[in-house]
Symmetry: C2
Subunit: 217 residues, 2 copies
DNA sequence: CTAACAATCTAACGATCGTTAGAGTAAACT
DNA sequence: AGTTTACTCTAACGATCGTTAGATTGTTAG
């Protein structure tokens, strides 16, 4: 084999390491979870609905591709995304998948919040409305994810506290709920609950990763 | 298992289909080749240095992920990239790999054209210089790839014709050579040849995929 | 028609991957 | 010191993947 062939093969092999990290559904889900903020293995395993052993194995793969960093904090090992480029890649590969795969578009339509969702293009105007207080943007993810990163002018009301905290929401205002992104169903549940209670509620099918907001720390 | 779990798993599974297509070095190389323009299986196999059978198998995978389209033309089957989003993804995953993997950066330094390469940021000014004729931009890829897509104001001089066509290049002008992108070595070879012949030559380590120029047809 | 060619399909192999179980390590609490 | 907790490592299993060889399909040329 020629010398230049060997060099070329080496280059493509390296890029394939990233592809390899992205070829397992559970690894992609772990990446999305880490885009919301740092987490330990137990939390990741629970939220991805897999055993801790399996989560550990997948996380090892992600670390081998240098997509995540780890830090030992006492008993726990904290995983976090290596940098914002990883979150951008997660959004990019998802976007290509949605562009190319009909099956994905069909599945997404199923989870779309009944008829009403917020069009994703008008971020600037949403921020303006939220700043003025004309719409209430609520972040229904767990509180620690809100602390790690959240959309501008959003307030944190985790999904499992929503029912008991309805009084915090002013009457007559439109409520926009968001969560981890288009594949996360928490905002859907929130919107359904709010509508049952008579609120005018919409789902924003985007999260911090889509808005390019990196978690702190 | 809950109903929403099943839906979520389905979504990540679909995205993983794209990752699966991108987890083999040879498939990535085939994608890059197809970014230059449509090709039949034999050409793809030869240029990726694999057997036709293996190329056929990899191309089947790429088609299963809907990343490439096929068209039967007489005896040949022509493969082409599904759309520009695929080329953009190839650039994106390569960029993440370069960001995260030291090994890749080290390998890239090895093939960098000795000291002198063109900085990649000033595309507009390069076009301006090329338009005025102050620098000569040559496309050293095979002629059919030039026809499918090429950089603005570039002229086609395939690498294997370069030695016999040196007279076409005006003396005293800087020559900028490009090929399929940063992982392709044809522009390196061209620059080395030109310098031997006394030309002031630079390599542009980008190609049509990096410039967002989709092949025609 | 036959011959030549391009490409795919089938079957097969060894290698790798996803997943689970069991043992092992390292820190924190008693 | 001993126990618990959080995690990783090792080994193992079946499933899938990359690759090759051989037979097959479909098209063109004579």
């Amino acid at each position: 084999m020629s010398d230049s062939r060997r060099i070329k093969d080496l280059l493509y092999e390296q890029v394939a390491r990233i592809g390899k990290a992205a070829c397992s559904p559970k690894r992609l889900e772990l990446i999305e979870l880490l885009c919301q903020g740092e987490k330990n293995v137990e939390t990741l395993a629970r939220e991805a609905a897999i055993s801790m052993k399996l989560a550990s194995a997948h996380l090892r793969e992600l670390r081998a591709a240098h997509l995540v960093d780890t830090e030992k904090q006492g008993k726990n090992v904290i995983y976090r995304i290596a940098n914002r480029a990883v979150a951008d890649f997660w959004v990019a590969i998802r976007s290509l998948a949605e562009d190319r795969l009909v099956e994905l578009r069909l599945a997404l339509e199923q989870i779309a919040c009944n008829p009403k969702e917020l069009a994703p293009q008008d971020r600037a105007s949403l921020v303006k409305l939220a700043k003025k207080g004309d719409v209430i943007v609520i972040d229904v993810r767990p509180a620690n994810e809100y602390e790690a990163a959240h959309l501008p002018f959003a307030r944190s009301i985790p999904l499992d506290e929503l029912k008991s905290r309805l009084a915090e929401l002013p009457d007559g205002k439109t409520v926009v709920a968001y969560c981890r992104g288009p594949y996360c169903l928490m905002a859907c549940d929130a919107v359904n609950l709010l509508r049952q209670q008579g609120f005018d509620a919409l789902r924003l099918p985007e999260g911090v990763a889509e808005w390019g907001i990196a978690p702190v720390r």
